[in-house]
Amino acid sequence: MSGPALRLALEIDGDGAHPAAWRRAAHSPDQLLSPRRLARVAAAAENAGFTLLTLDDGALPPGAGPDVVGRIGAVERAAFIAASTSVVGIAPVVPPTYAEPFHVSSQLASLDHISAGRAGWVVSEETRPEAASVWGRPLVDGDAARARESRDGVEVVRDLWDSWEDDAVIRSVATSRYLDRDRLHYVDFTGDTYTVKGPAIVPRPPQGQLVVFGSPDRVPGDQLDVALVEGRDLAAVTASASAAGTPRTFAEVEIALDTADATAEERVADLEEHGSWSDRGRLRHIGSAAGLAALLGELRGVVDGVRLHPLVLDEDLPELSRLVLPHLFERRHAVRPLPGASLRTHLGLDRPANRYAAAAAQEDAR
């Protein structure tokens, strides 16, 4: 298969995709939540040439029993990373199931300002019933109810990003007006379970709208910029990608690579003694760097990008940056992000016009 070059994303939550990844990490467990560790991973991934970093999250501990139970909020980590990197895109996972959409909108818009237009949002769900107690809200029960909260959440967050037109700050010294109030808009959102007045308190994000990622099974395709598609093999990924109906698609790929110290198989087997790497129905590559490069080459033309979930960050990221990404860049099977460009630009997405400004322009034209 051939096609346009892929965009590469990396999930960097915790120590890796395996619940017991912390046992093979290059640092002691109590360093996992340190800022130095976070900055180091982000720098390594940016230098390797990833277009996007994602950070998983949820209100509940990431693991249970013997594994990692600590996690700093994804938005806070993303903001920290944004200030310590310069090119790579950053997308925290934020589930709108119980959260306040007004806060979510402000936090993500702020992240876009902080990163000068490099921010995205991975929409997820809080599926465990205990999450309701964390939020002090009634249980959002069942797939349909969670989908409703996601749909309403994404809609109002997007409404709020448009509630300031790009040029709402006018600084008109002659009239003493800082704002043009006609360029600020009440969103007057009415969802199934709540209403939001608006406008936002954060001016429109640099990208206009952040890049919204999510599963097309969970969030309506017309609310997503990028569908995160799953499937255990190429055929399944191809089918999901062509059904997604979103401007862009990224395939979810779990990986474990051979290293100088151990084969990928051995590394997985070692961690499987402590717990299992549960099958989420995603592509999985356990083997050589060359094999992964070949697989990614095959995904060109099927999807626009891939999101890699490494078994253990400290072991797989060096292999990715030494062997896999350079190979892909060299053959133009993937591209590095350019300094100074927005995440939208990196993904070939237009900057959306503000809906109110667009409506006003149309009105003028009549």
């Binding site: 900055a39 139970v69 909020g73 200030a83 959260a99 107690s133 007006r177 939001v196 007045k197």
Partner: protein, 466 residues
């Protein structure tokens, strides 16, 4: 002013603490100046925070307002507006600063305790013990229109919710034992068994049963600030806060009375008198000479109180729409209309407009002031004006007499408004021995010279007693 003899004062060794308050929505930021930069550009937040850090400030503060201000049902368009989410912005600053405290104003009404506690903990860990939380309560249904719950809490309940909120937050912050996380990958589990306690709380405002996700930071947990001036607010501070962010920092006698009042309240709840730092918000205007400083103040006031702003402020006092009138002319002839609620938010409530207007008329007549000049002269008198040396003497006097512990400086210009203070006032204070010459600790709690968190003290005390 003469130099204070340091030995002849109640607190000869007192040190002044500075914070910087990056103002969000207000008419004190002079946005019309050509040197005035963006209120949202991250470079400006970084510049102010790094300047403050160069000046050995304790903290960088962000305020909060969760709905754009309105006057008579219309979005207020005269003042700077539009700001980032505080914790998100501060988490970014954690990456580009080393020592300065990072304080988020976050309200207890339109947040949920477990969520906010976690976000603040995250900031505390990312900054390695530099986070602070300025606890504010929001009491208007109008802000609630942006939230799932809507406007639901009446005035009387807001401090009750704040108190329960803090109880839950502290339980979450204290739920991990120190050194809960193993230091070896070969340990049986990532966190030591039993080192993370489930938090269960049932009360009128919160019903939670959760497994917290974060360890303690280098300073235990975020430093608690409080901003609110009512008796209820001060009592809340006396029971809970490490620092109070007050509005009593202009006049020495007023500041001292406020500080004495707080010390009384601290004694009443069994806390040491020196347990709470008092940092009033203040503007500082510096000139090479007194005359230059006064001239600068006059110019700044005219930029802050534009004709339109003067008419807006007077309009609120009169209860009449004065837009379109001549601000540089005489005061309105009409009598004020006493309005119960004028539909304006973010404005000061005026107890007796008739009396205030009578006073304004009298002073304006006597001094031949225009309406705008009257608004400037008789509006809230804020801040301190003078030479670096004069201000240093004055501030030494304030702090050595226990009227304040420092100031939360509100620069009138972004991003350069702090430069004068750091370059000229700070050295003058250092010369007088009332300001640190280096950071001696790494955490905000250490900068403020605070004891350990209140909850930790009670456990220690209990352990000692038991």
């Amino acid at each position: 002013m003469t130099r204070t003899d340091p030995l002849d004062v109640p607190r000869p060794d007192a040190r002044l603490h500075f914070g910087v308050f990056f103002q969000g929505v207000n008419h004190w930021t002079v946005w019309s100046d050509p040197a005035s930069g963006s209120q949202i550009d991250p470079a400006n937040f970084r510049r102010v925070a790094q300047t403050a850090e160069r000046g050995l400030f304790d903290a960088f503060f962000l305020g909060e307002g969760l709905r754009l201000r309105e006057v008579d049902g219309q979005i207020h368009d005269l003042d700077v507006a539009g700001r980032p989410d505080a914790i998100t912005q501060l988490a970014a600053l954690a990456a580009v600063t080393d020592r300065i405290g990072l304080v988020s104003t976050s309200n207890t009404t339109f947040n949920e305790a477990p969520d906010l506690a976690r976000r603040l903990s995250g900031l505390d860990l990312l900054s390695e013990g530099r986070a602070g939380w300025n606890v504010v309560t929001t009491d208007n249904a109008w802000t609630g229109a942006n939230f799932r719950r809507g406007g639901y809490l009446d005035h009387a309940d807001r401090y009750r919710r704040a108190e329960e909120f803090l109880t839950v937050a502290r339980a979450i912050w204290d739920s991990w034992e120190d050194a809960a996380v193993s230091d070896s990958a070969d340990a049986p589990s990532w966190a030591a068994p039993g080192a993370v306690r489930q938090v269960r709380h049932q009360g009128p405002q919160f019903d939670v049963d959760l497994a917290p996700t974060l360890p303690r930071s280098a300073q235990g947990h975020p430093v608690i600030f409080q901003a609110g001036d009512s008796g209820e607010g001060r009592d809340f501070a006396a029971r809970n806060a490490d620092v109070i962010f007050s509005a009593h920092g202009n006049d020495f006698d007023d500041a001292l009375a406020f500080a004495d009042d707080l010390r009384r309240r601290l004694r009443a709840v069994g806390r040491p008198e020196d347990d709470l730092r008092i940092l009033p918000g203040t503007e500082i205007i510096i000139g090479a000479t007194e005359e230059e400083a006064l001239e600068k103040k006059r110019w700044i006031r005219l930029q802050q109180v534009t004709p339109a702003t003067a008419l807006g402020i007077a309009g609120l006092l009169w209860g009449i729409d004065l837009s379109g009138r001549d601000a540089d002319g005489p005061l309105p002839k009409e009598d004020p209309v006493a309005a119960e609620n004028d539909g304006s938010f973010g404005a000061r409530r005026i107890a007796d407009p008739r009396q205030v207007v009578a006073e304004w008329r009298e002073k304006a007549d006597a001094n031949r002031w225009s309406l705008r000049e009257t608004v400037i002269a008789l509006g809230p008198q804020r801040g301190h004006v003078g030479t670096p040396e004069g201000l240093a003497d004055k501030f030494a006097h304030f702090v050595r007499h226990g009227a304040v512990d420092g100031f939360n400086v509100t620069p009138y210009l972004i991003p350069d408004g702090l430069d004068d203070i750091v370059d000229h006032l700070v050295p003058a204070l250092q010369e007088r021995g009332v300001y640190r010459t280096d950071y001696t600790g790494t955490t905000l709690r250490e900068h403020l010279d605070l004891r350990e968190p209140l909850t930790h003290r009670t456990t220690t005390d209990r352990r000692r007693a038991g």
